[in-house]
Symmetry: C2
Subunit: 432 residues, 2 copies
Amino acid sequence: MKRTYIANLTEGECLIKGYVEAIRDKKIMFLVIRDVTGSVQVTIEKSVCPDVYEKAKALTLHSFVAVTGKCVYSEYVRNGGKEIYPTDVDIMSIAEVLPLNAESGQDLRMDYRWIDLRDEKKVFLFKIQTAFEKYAVEFFNKNGFIEIHTPKITALSSEGGSEVFELKNYFGQPAYLTQSPQLYKQMSMMAGFDKTFEIGEYFRANPSFTSRHDTEFTGIDVEISFIESHHEVMDVEEALLKYVIAGVKNDYNEEYKKYFGNDIITMDYDIPRISLTEAYDILKREKNYEVPRALKGDLDPEGERLICEYVKEKFNSDFVFIIDFPAKARAFYSMKQEENPELTKTYDLLFRGIEITSGAQREHRYENLRQNIIENGINPDNMSEYLDFFRYGAPTHGGFGLGITRTLVKLFDLPSVKDVTFLFRGPARLKP
Amino acid sequence: MKRTYIANLTEGECLIKGYVEAIRDKKIMFLVIRDVTGSVQVTIEKSVCPDVYEKAKALTLHSFVAVTGKCVYSEYVRNGGKEIYPTDVDIMSIAEVLPLNAESGQDLRMDYRWIDLRDEKKVFLFKIQTAFEKYAVEFFNKNGFIEIHTPKITALSSEGGSEVFELKNYFGQPAYLTQSPQLYKQMSMMAGFDKTFEIGEYFRANPSFTSRHDTEFTGIDVEISFIESHHEVMDVEEALLKYVIAGVKNDYNEEYKKYFGNDIITMDYDIPRISLTEAYDILKREKNYEVPRALKGDLDPEGERLICEYVKEKFNSDFVFIIDFPAKARAFYSMKQEENPELTKTYDLLFRGIEITSGAQREHRYENLRQNIIENGINPDNMSEYLDFFRYGAPTHGGFGLGITRTLVKLFDLPSVKDVTFLFRGPARLKP
């Protein structure tokens, strides 16, 4: 017999497969079996089917089974009002006593992440992530982007050395893990690829223990050629987010409501674009807040939180672009503004209080780039392999990187990236 | 004015952006400008537009430009019979003398990969790869798979130590790069995810210098729960390949024909499934070939080539599943056959002479798995963290890994994975 997913059960003969979520064994044995689509009650009366009852007595919580039987509707049953009277229970594996219970703390849950994830709400987060990425891929394909897979191992260590992981045994050569595809997605522009994207893993040897940092994370990276300013980059990112969130909402809003009590956000507005200078003014005027002097050139976490609060009140927007950061606060590859070279054609995208993206138009002119490198106190000879990309012709270009986990954390309003990562990696977390 | 992609040019005012593919400057200057969609001739008469002519004189091969002008149809012009009479040429960057020419060897081409890729046929390979992955993502979403991103850094080094890259500085802990998502995609089955996929990068410290080996590559990995045998895994892989190749063919067959002279393959047949024992018989009977004794338990490259030749002649199939490998030749996590424990529920998929996939039903029963580990000469204590995945309930499950680059190499009939990799990584190749 062909397996039926529990959500699709109708009255009649059936075969379901899943794990035992609950057992109640009085005179009659009740099992709750769950699969990825839902759960259903299996009712076993000893007098009716003594053989099945004997087999089922071996079951423990989270044992995996296949149950053959008859599905009937019953008004006395929760879980959608269906129950199954089994004719056979086939045991795939018996679970030992579970190491997790409702009181287990996050660290123990992470040790046994595969058991922790046996929870419909947690699985739902990954269904949403799957849809999020599907719609992103769809958006890029509809708009003529080429997908690239940039190397994760590199001999170039040009993005600032301190937070880079190094390999021990790359055939006698110094080798590092890439912190971002930055250099290589820029290279794809020099290759004439016009518009590229990548969904991939990146690595940061960041010793921070915050709710938004991890040593390995998944990002969506985008680079586009032949732009005039960073505003075109923002246009692409805004269109991407609108497409993806509308798609996810269309597929999953009902289920989202069930778990989170409210609707997935709607993005029927243009995301406000506020210069950093303007943001400082607004924070002072509207929120009586001044970003600490040492952090001038950027927003601190409290400033990010408050400016998001402001755009929510004022424009009912969950997002805000902060634009035109000073050159001294941005990476050397950012393009300076023609009218005011103190400022760059850069932006951050904030979502519900945190930064989920950095974007910019990049400097594509060899001499200007070299000058920027020197101004940043870096010896351009150490960057010669990167600089070479720009010697044989280069289009104007820009792009952005979007952290998927950070975005999902805020979409679900969850406390930590750990909640939306399949297996979190941090300075003290390398297992399982 | 809004930019027009060259393939979309019609008569009238236009703005195009791209790089200079050719320059001919006699009395009249002719430029060929290429963007990601095609190329077009720009005709500059000094007497008609002296200012534009003066600017254009600075141009070198592969300089990047924006050209404003008027597009007209002309029967004297190649490249689709269009030419542009410019009113302005805006120079983004002037290219230095190119380090590559038609005679440059592969190694130099790889040093300057971004210039090497300025070639419509090479860009086309990445358009196909983009579509290949898009259709894969579509297939998985339509069939209820959940996408996962398994960690690439791990403290578990359980898949055989010799070909693993190790990190130098993971906060004082031993840490490795994963060779495959094997352990973690199995873990996703224990989490009750039912069916999962991942498109990601994997790392092998493999010192081989062959046309099909690299130290970093992109793979599609799949795992499904509640299966009865490896045949269900093959069913999924076959359906995936049919869906993806039909999609790619639908979108790109015409362009493919232009570059490769023939059609993209059609998969309107069931892929033959031949046991390894049967394959040995066929090779002997039909091809007078015997696999060297030392390699018994597998096919050698010559055997793979010949069995593919046979199925092509006999069934007109470009693919063949070789199934039921002996236990001693397969990984410990493969499930043994009930009727004959010498054999496993495993398979390889060969495509035009090379293996592109390994697949199997896995052993999900803790005691059997432990026994397999011991029989493979491994101390099960060293595998305890992996074994733990199976202690708290486990469904039957199986899956496969499909190398994207290997598949594309054979789809295009190209000599090496280097040709279809954006930036190849091998023992002697870490740059750019």
